[in-house]
């Protein structure tokens, strides 16, 4: 057959596309379960790491079941929808597309050595794509126990540095609310006068050089997400006062 004829070209292209599509679809389907399992366990790993529990991926599930006491789907008015399977069915990327009053706001409650921690998933925009993470708050509903950040496509060496320990550690013990319980958040600041981060009440951490927009994204997503938990936190606070 003449290699330059139209018929041959069409035939070749058709067969090639079919073969490639089959191979890719087969690979994708046969690896899907393994990939999903990796993502699921990594989520557990991330949630645990904010409360100081470091584990490899294989051990994550056992520790997650041991330490995570409850998973709540908070509503915008502060109530809890008990019918939602938070870990498996609430995807923040999808929730963010809804109006606040239709969203579920996931909250994980961990109990470690009789101390309670509230873990809130956060998600926002970096420079190129979404950035996300978890932030865990101590029982006073103000002090940060730990955070973890991740990203989809930030620049390696610049924006991608938000995943690094030195950046994450600078959030530990920072306060989210002021003394009147107004949400201030944590500002990733270029004009931070406290590079050693010894002042834990300034609501600021040091920014990453060359990653201004990613840093601003971190600042914004903390405020945007935390805002929706205020009604629930207020309920917790008033319950606590009532108990005392």
């Amino acid at each position: 057959m003449n290699r330059d004829s139209n018929l041959y070209t069409f035939l070749f292209a058709t067969i090639m596309v079919l073969v490639v599509a089959t191979v890719l679809a087969f690979t994708s389907q046969s690896l899907k379960d393994l990939q999903k399992e990796n993502v699921r366990k990594e989520k557990m790993q991330n949630i645990l790491s904010t409360v100081g529990i470091v584990t490899d991926r294989d051990g994550a599930e056992e520790l997650f079941n041991k330490y995570i006491e409850s998973q709540l789907a908070i509503q915008n008015d502060g109530s809890i929808d008990a019918s939602v399977d938070v870990f498996n069915n609430v995807k923040l990327s999808l929730e963010l597309k809804k109006l606040p009053k239709e969203q579920n706001f996931p909250l994980y409650v961990a109990k470690i050595e009789s101390k309670k921690y509230y873990i809130i998933p956060i998600r926002g925009n970096g420079l190129w794509n979404a950035i996300y993470g978890y932030i865990s708050i101590k029982e006073d509903l103000n002090t940060i126990k730990g955070v973890v950040f991740d990203h989809i496509g930030e620049t390696a060496g610049l924006g991608a540095e938000i995943t690094q320990d030195w950046f994450i550690e600078s959030f530990v013990d920072e306060k989210l609310f002021d003394i009147n319980n107004n949400l201030i958040g944590i500002k990733v600041s270029k004009t931070n006068n406290d590079p050693n981060n010894s002042d834990k009440n300034d609501h600021e951490v040091d920014a990453i050089s060359g990653a201004t927009i990613t840093g601003d994204g971190v600042t914004d997503m903390i405020i945007e997400r935390l805002e929706h938990y205020i009604p629930y936190f207020n309920t917790l606070r008033s319950n606590k006062i009532a108990l005392n």
Partner: protein
């Protein structure tokens, strides 16, 4: 291995280096040389993709219609890259996260398409395989060299481990943040080309 086949491996390392002589693949050489580790994994991934796609195109070289050969090459490279990405995601999740978008960017690496077009379409399977390995190695060692200097001078680390001792910082040494930005990668590649040509004078264009 005959001398001719050996030249397929050794030429791209120096006399016909894809980056410093052919000036291909500069984009990724600038983008992912901030850290040594990313550069090393990228080099290995490019090597896998180049060797595999060179072999496939070489096998099909008598069947590919001339008019759509670029499209065929593109489809083969893209399929290889997706395969590498999927396999990494299932079996080496951490590495796959580390590289994230860079794996996808292999498709746009001019060296891959360049070798398919210039070599694999006209040569046998074994020679094409060697050519793919050789060119990826030539690309890789420049990438790793650039990343070495950028990470060392830019963040005082190598492979993520701090190597500049603390007392250096105490007496006033400061990491050069400019090294982390792309322009310094271009300048570093430029310096490598300069050194290479002062050693290897036959590379200097006459005229």
């Amino acid at each position: 291995m005959s001398n001719k086949n050996r030249a397929l491996l050794s030429d791209p390392m120096d006399d016909n280096n894809p980056i410093t002589v052919q000036v291909l693949g500069i984009c990724s050489a600038l983008a992912i040389t901030v850290q040594l580790k990313a550069a090393i994994v990228m080099s290995i991934s490019v090597m896998a993709v180049m060797a595999a796609s060179n072999v496939i195109i070489s096998l099909l070289r008598d069947l590919i219609p001339n008019r759509i050969r670029i499209i065929v090459q593109l489809v083969v490279v893209a399929a290889m890259v997706i395969l590498v990405d999927q396999v990494l995601r299932a079996y080496a999740y951490d590495v796959s996260k580390e590289l994230s978008i860079f794996i996808g960017l292999i498709i746009t690496n001019c060296i891959v398409m360049g070798r398919l077009e210039a070599f694999a379409l006209g040569n046998g399977v074994w020679r094409s395989f060697l050519d793919g390995i050789g060119n990826a190695a030539g690309y890789g060692w420049i990438l790793i060299l650039v990343a070495f200097f950028r990470e060392l001078l830019g963040s005082g680390k190598l492979g993520g481990v701090k190597v500049v001792p603390d007392f250096m910082y105490e007496i006033g040494y400061v990491d050069n943040g400019l090294m982390l930005l792309s322009p310094m990668a271009l300048i570093t590649v430029g310096v490598i080309i300069w050194i290479q040509r002062s050693r290897n004078r036959k590379l200097i264009e006459q005229g």
